[in-house]
Assembly symmetry: C2
Amino acid sequence: MHDDDLVFKALADPTRRFLLDRLFTRDGRTLTELESELEMTRFGVMKHLRVLEDAGLVVTRKEGREKLHFLNPVPIRLIHDRWIDKFTERRVSALTDLKRQLEEDSA
Amino acid sequence: MHDDDLVFKALADPTRRFLLDRLFTRDGRTLTELESELEMTRFGVMKHLRVLEDAGLVVTRKEGREKLHFLNPVPIRLIHDRWIDKFTERRVSALTDLKRQLEEDSA
DNA sequence: TTGACATGTGACCATTTGGTCACCTATCAT
DNA sequence: ATGATAGGTGACCAAATGGTCACATGTCAA
């Protein structure tokens, strides 16, 4: 419930969705690498990565002086299953089919 | 692209998700009816409904002095198909199965 | 027709958000 | 050891956001 909110809010920013996209194509990127693909200082990127990390969408590991960023798709999967799925299911039950059939017949 | 952003931003607020939930269980509600379920003045609710409408998640029809609100799940379906689906697919290809098999064997 | 009801608008306000910068620490390579 | 490299912190700022209110319009019912 409250956890979902962090995820939704994290997904609400285009820069953050871009970052997730980059990490989707390849994980384990460093901050400076991600920064180089954006028109923004590394401080801005850091803040966005922090938001993603707080939402559990990104996990990190320190390697020497570098910080590697990995994508964690589980939270997206969760809001999908618990929330989005409900709105996206196509209703193709026998009942709605029947209803549509009746409406067509009466027209 | 730009359209997606409106949808993601609209979904980022818990009050708005609550409104979508209410409209999911039953459509065609009026502003005052929706307001009565929230700890907020009708002005706040109006603004939220406006955001949902701009994102295409809610469509409205005027009926006398009332304004009826209807859920439109299509935008959710679109961001699901174009964006979320990619992150939520379970990878169960023969290749990853083989990889897991090898890892188990070597353990 | 007159009052109650449903909604709309614009000003206004506090808080959050997205972004920058100055400065600082830790690590690597020479 | 020393400079270059990678990252971190806190202050700061402008703009967006979430919410309220005073007021105003249109519609229904007695």
